[in-house]
């Protein structure tokens, strides 16, 4: 029974990844312009013969179905092809940059969680909560690049507390991470707080208080776990903000990373890299959803978790 569910689950994950890969393949076949031209740039010396030979190397002279099959089979073997621009295997490109982005994402997530928890759990009293929720609203509504620029001009240019750019050291991580963290913290904080407030209205909270439970015990032993459930459904959205934010933040703060690679690949029409990143993201999200589901089961004994993580909750 359980075993069958796991199998079904894995199948589902595969379907999603496969779908993403196929979508990427088809969609990028629609890209206007001859990939080879794009790849070469305008090179006077690139004779038609040369282009033809390159096309052959890339298998672009094959009929679509053939290309598709070989594309998939290569994916299965973990071969994402070679970048037009960087002249490196896409896996290497992603591999080289993944570290920076993971570092950034992890830092952002940690910050976001910390801020959200402080805002939701520690802050008490209607007035204080009101202020917090306004701040959250602002954080949510401000475009990340705008936040980034403000932080830059205040803390880097103005006060000079943090370096303006670069990937080196914790110092250089603070502002970029904060830029991504703030909006995430905003949403997370809201969901947590409403979750807590809802839980406090529940009869079981009254029962707990009727046993003499104080606020701390009430939150830690009871309501926080309930608030965590809606917060969990945000996981997909959050990871999204982390990756999407990376694209902008890495360019604002001149950090290396996947975001930069993605952006460059898109502006340069570096199709293999774009494809690679699409598939990579799909895999990441499938895994995230899996983790979320498991977390649901861990937290809530009652229900089987909803599958797709919810995004854009405001």
């Amino acid at each position: 029974m359980v075993f069958r569910r796991i199998l079904a689950r894995l199948a589902g994950m595969l379907v999603v990844v496969w779908g993403a890969a196929t979508a990427a393949f088809l969609v990028l076949k629609l890209v206007p312009g001859d990939p080879v031209d794009v790849m070469l740039g305008v090179s006077a010396q690139a004779s038609p013969e040369l282009k033809q030979s390159i096309r052959a190397d890339l298998g672009l002279d094959q009929p679509l179905p053939v290309q598709y099959v070989s594309y998939l089979s290569r994916l299965v073997r973990g071969d994402f092809g070679t970048s037009y621009q960087l002249r490196l295997p896409v896996t290497d490109v992603i591999g080289q940059q993944l570290g920076y982005t993971l570092q950034l994402a992890a830092a952002s997530l940690a910050l976001a969680l910390a801020i959200a928890l402080v805002g939701a759990v520690v802050v008490h009293g209607r007035a204080a909560r009101g202020i917090v929720s306004v701040l959250e609203l602002l954080a949510i509504s401000s475009p990340p690049f705008w936040i980034g620029l403000v932080l830059l001009s205040v803390f880097a240019f103005g006060l000079g507390w943090f370096p303006v750019a670069g990937a080196d050291g914790i110092q250089g991580l603070v502002l970029p991470a904060l830029t991504i963290a703030l909006p995430v913290a905003g949403i997370l904080g809201q969901v947590l707080r409403t979750g807590l407030e809802d839980a406090e209205q529940q009869p079981f909270a009254t029962t707990a208080r009727a046993r003499g439970a104080g606020p701390a015990r009430l939150v830690l032993r009871h309501t926080l776990r309930h608030a965590a459930i809606p917060a969990l459904t945000l996981a997909g959205y959050i990871v999204g903000s982390l990756l999407g934010g990376a694209v902008i933040v890495e360019s604002v703060f001149a950090r290396p990373g996947l975001g930069r690679v993605a952006l460059a690949a898109i502006t340069n029409r570096d199709l293999p890299v774009v494809m690679g990143i699409i598939v990579f993201t799909a895999i990441v999200f499938v895994l995230v959803n899996l983790v979320v589901d498991l977390a649901y089961r861990a937290i809530d004994p009652r229900i089987a978790a909803p599958t797709a993580a919810i995004r854009g909750a405001r």
Binding site: T207, A208, G212
Partner: protein, 545 residues
């Protein structure tokens, strides 16, 4: 009042929200081994009164009292911390639905243990070691007659039946050995049989010296266990006294109204002869002749269980409904009452057997062919609000029920709607209101108006009054009875409440696990139940002296 030492004494207890007074200078007292019942309808302030004794009033509520003693200590100046020392240790709380009153994410055992973690050992007051905790939890669960306490302690609330859940809740409230237990509607969510058991449990505890304050909307329920009854209405205690006294000769008109309104089971004093001897398996039907409006034959409906097995929600049910007859379908939750109703209404298709309406096949035909005849059989649900489109006004809702309502001229339609509203006792001025602006009773009346708009031959009512206060309940029942009399519409009345069915119906089907275990004329069945389950059911119904 007994001379035993007084656990709670309150005088001039008042709760305000801003300028509005919701509990108005209430005075009460409770002694050890005594059970005080506070009875009143929704909004009477009974719950707030109880919460005041725990210092658990909602935000914005202001408490004042001339005297408020708990275990002899004046608690009027209590800080939140002081209250916390009282809660659980001196006063325990059991509230309505244990499914939500126990933290659904924590194991039952942990919930029971929590009070001990907070207050320590009830005797010594010291922190309790884990082992001791578990042990105490088990004994506590045992004390409320919980089978296999060890296993139960490791289960989650949703894994327990309603009755066991309520026991667990009581156990968690008593673990701190409080002198006072406040039980707020402790049995409302339970089936009658279970209700009886829980009430027994409570009275047992009372006999062991526990002081209990029971809060209920149902006089009958408290009649059994309460030594004294306080009747509350709009924040005030209108009458208080020994239970027998209050119930047998109520002084205050409101109490009389409540008593009058409360439906009762006819006791065995019926003259036997007035019933025809029912033959086993014969189709129950009312004496008034004519072909049946609705005929169910060998109905069965199966559902797939999550584990893949098959459960028959309804199995081999047959009966007739003659014109203007009123037949009750009683049973506990999960007995298949509602599924049966849905089969009769053609909302759901039977896996076995058939339904005919006016002799024409009603089941096993396409919805298209059913549609034109739907006006003949109408439905009244327990949740009228849910059955209204939130955007619609009352008149639009009722208009939807009119046959060919679209074809009528707006004037005639308006006229029809007015008469319909009038016939269900609603003021025409409500026609413009939206559902959420109506009271529960008004909503049910609107639902009825919509149902009778198409001049149906038969009304299927699923728990139509369960969610209503007794006084309202009575009026709705009268309304339905009146409609049956005046319009000659037949009633199929699904309810868990035998008393209600008894007041309204002539015949009854008793269902259990999807099967009809007994059927026949009300008086016969309830006076001389044949099937043991029916007997249990009847015995469990709380009766007033």
């Amino acid at each position: 009042m007994t001379d035993a030492h007084v656990l709670v004494r309150a005088a001039g207890l008042t709760v305000r929200f801003g300028s509005t007074v919701v509990v108005d200078s209430v005075s009460l007292s409770l002694a050890a081994g005594e059970c005080l019942a506070i009875v009143g309808e929704s909004g009477s302030g009974k719950t707030l009164t109880a919460r005041a004794l725990l210092g658990l009033l909602p935000d914005g509520a202001v408490l004042s009292a001339d005297e408020l003693l708990i275990d002899g200590a004046d608690v009027r100046r209590n800080s939140e911390a002081d209250w916390r020392r009282i809660r659980g240790a001196r006063v325990g709380l059991v509230s309505q639905d244990a499914l939500v009153s126990l933290d659904p994410l924590r194991r039952v055992g942990r919930e029971v243990a929590e009070v001990l973690e907070i207050h320590g050992d009830p005797v010594s007051g010291h922190r309790m070691p884990w082992a001791a905790l578990d042990e105490t939890v088990t004994t506590q669960l045992g004390r409320v007659a919980m089978p296999e306490p060890e296993e139960r302690a490791r289960q989650y609330p949703h894994e327990l039946s309603g009755g066991l859940r309520q026991r667990a809740l009581i156990a968690s409230a008593l673990a701190g050995k409080p002198g006072v237990l406040i039980a707020d509607e402790p049995t409302t969510a339970l089936d009658v049989t279970v209700q009886a058991q829980v009430l027994d449990l409570l009275s047992g505890l009372r006999d062991d010296g526990l002081g209990i304050i029971v809060i209920s909307h149902d006089l009958a329920v408290v009649a059994g266990i309460a030594d004294r009854v306080a009747v509350m209405r709009s924040g005030r205690i209108v009458e208080v006294g020994a239970t027998v006294e209050v119930l047998s000769n109520p002084r205050h008109p409101y109490t009389r109204m409540l008593l009058a309104a409360a439906p009762r089971l006819p006791d065995a004093s019926f003259p036997e002869s007035s019933f025809p001897e029912p033959v086993e398996g014969s189709r129950p039907s009312t004496s008034s002749g004519g072909d049946p409006v609705l005929r169910a034959t060998g109905l069965g409906r199966d559902f797939r269980r999550p584990d893949g097995g098959v459960r028959s929600a309804v199995d081999d049910v047959s009966f007739d409904v003659l014109p203007a007859a009123a037949i009750g379908i009683v049973g506990e939750s999960g007995s298949g009452k509602t599924t049966l109703a849905r089969l009769l209404l053609g909302f759901d298709a039977p896996d076995r057997g058939s339904v005919t309406l006016d002799g024409q096949p009603w089941s096993g035909i396409t919805e298209g062919r059913r549609r034109s005849r739907r006006g003949d059989i109408q439905y009244i649900s327990q949740d009228p609000l849910g059955s209204f489109d939130p955007r619609y006004t009352v008149s639009r809702i009722v208009a939807e029920g009119l046959r060919g309502g679209s074809r009528l001229s707006s004037r005639t339609r308006a006229a029809r709607i007015r008469t319909l509203l009038d016939s269900v006792g609603l003021d025409a001025s409500l026609a413009g209101r939206r559902p959420h602006e109506l009271s529960g009773g008004q909503r049910q009346r609107v639902a009825i108006a919509r149902a009778i708009a198409s001049e149906p031959r038969i009304l299927v009512c699923d728990e139509p009054v369960s969610a209503l206060d007794v006084s309202i309940q009575a009026t709705i029942i009268d309304l339905l009875a009146g409609l049956r009399r005046d319009l000659g519409v037949a009633l199929v009345f699904v309810s868990h409440d035998l008393a209600v069915v008894a007041t309204l119906c002539d015949d009854v089907l008793v269902m259990r696990d999807g099967r009809v275990v007994e059927s026949g004329a009300i008086g016969e069945v309830f006076a001389h139940p044949r099937h043991p389950f029916t007997r249990a059911l009847v015995d469990a119904v709380p009766r007033m002296p």
